[in-house]
């Protein structure tokens, strides 16, 4: 049987690598902003909490945070599959499951944020 040749040279990877770092920086900055806002709330109640999220800019920043989490997670989890999962079919299936889950989570996050 002829062994399948190993082909590498997919000409991508740099954008993901930059994105992983950029999203990490954004998440760190958002965490600081979020912590400052949360601690400056007059009281810890549902009203003040939803009041914080009713601010359009805060909603936008929060949604961007969730998108960063999911994009960051996509690259990280994809890397795990690439490192450890050898059969190509299984790897592709895991990639797709991860992708669908994360896109679903993003939609869910939007729904939660805009309901507050």
């Amino acid at each position: 049987m002829v062994k399948q040749r190993i082909v590498v040279g997919a000409h991508y990877g740099l954008k993901d690598w930059i994105a992983q770092r950029a999203t990490a920086v954004y998440m760190a900055l958002y965490t600081i902003v979020f912590a400052l806002c949360a601690f400056s709330l007059p009281e810890l109640s549902y009203e003040s909490w939803s009041g914080l999220f009713s601010n359009g800019l805060f909603k936008f920043l929060s949604f961007l945070f969730f998108l960063s989490v999911f994009y960051h997670a996509w690259i990280g989890v994809r890397d795990l599959w690439m490192d450890y999962i050898k059969p190509d079919g299984v790897r592709l299936a895991l990639h797709l499951v991860t992708l669908f889950l994360l896109v679903g989570y993003a939609g869910w996050a939007a729904q939660i944020l805009w309901r507050l």
Partner: protein
């Protein structure tokens, strides 16, 4: 230094004789002049000539006697035998197929090395004398050209263990940057294209085992960072 006895635990495997590898306990008396682990191994082989390992220059230039010494990759000829905790556990370099005892098959390692075109590409007619560099440009090659391809780094890299057929590995990437950094080379774009791949370059997760073990004190992680830096500069 006086005469002393050192104890070893050595990985033994002869595919013609042994069903599976085993660890052999063996001791050897060293002469006062024996300083390095390689000296002890040479004494050992005089005692048991079936024991196999590679060696050549015995001074850290050829890179033949790389092995896993007490759990850490290194060169036997550069390791002080008296600095090691006994019994000294010797295993072949991890992750490569074992040919016999401490000798591994380096084909995969050199395949990756060759894949980065480890030679100067310059299509200009050769000058009458050498192609010159400024001292500043030459400076950039320090810490790169000294690599002796002993494979200590690549075989200590988990990313290379999992994907030795796809990930170039720290040694190959250090060599790749050695030519990317060379002002006399004209193949920069093709070299970067060749590496822009989620496996070939981006399997490096900055674990830095390579830096920890390099017997020449080189820093493949920094070189890999500089390759990424060049790619980013090219892309934005």
């Amino acid at each position: 230094m006086t005469k002393r006895t050192v104890h070893f635990k050595i990985y033994r495997y002869d595919p013609d004789k042994d069903e599976k590898p085993y660890m052999q306990d063996i001791s050897v008396e060293l002469e006062p002049s024996d300083k390095k682990l390689l000296d002890a191994l040479v004494r050992l082989r005089a005692k048991d000539d079936s024991m196999s390992f590679r060696r050549s220059c015995r001074e850290g230039v050829c890179g033949s006697d790389a092995m896993n010494i007490n759990g850490k990759n290194g060169l036997a000829c550069l390791t002080d035998v008296d600095s090691l905790q006994q019994p000294i556990t010797l295993r072949p370099l991890p992750g490569l197929p074992v040919i016999r005892d401490l000798i591994v098959d380096m084909t995969q390692f050199f395949k990756q090395y060759h894949s980065i075109k480890p030679y100067l590409v310059n299509n200009d007619p050769a000058p009458e004398r050498e192609r010159l560099q400024t001292p500043e440009d030459r400076e950039e090659l320090n810490g790169l050209y000294e690599c002796i391809l002993c494979a200590c780094c690549s075989t200590s890299c988990p990313s290379f263990w999992w994907n030795p057929d796809k990930f170039v590995g720290p040694a190959g990437l250090l060599a790749a940057y050695r030519f990317l950094a060379d002002t006399r080379d004209q193949d920069t774009n093709a070299r970067l294209d060749n590496l822009e791949d989620p496996y070939r370059l981006f399997r490096c997760h900055t674990i830095m085992n390579c830096v920890d073990v390099c017997p020449k004190g080189l820093n493949p992680t920094r070189a890999i960072g500089k390759i990424k830096d060049m790619m980013v500069r090219r892309a934005i």
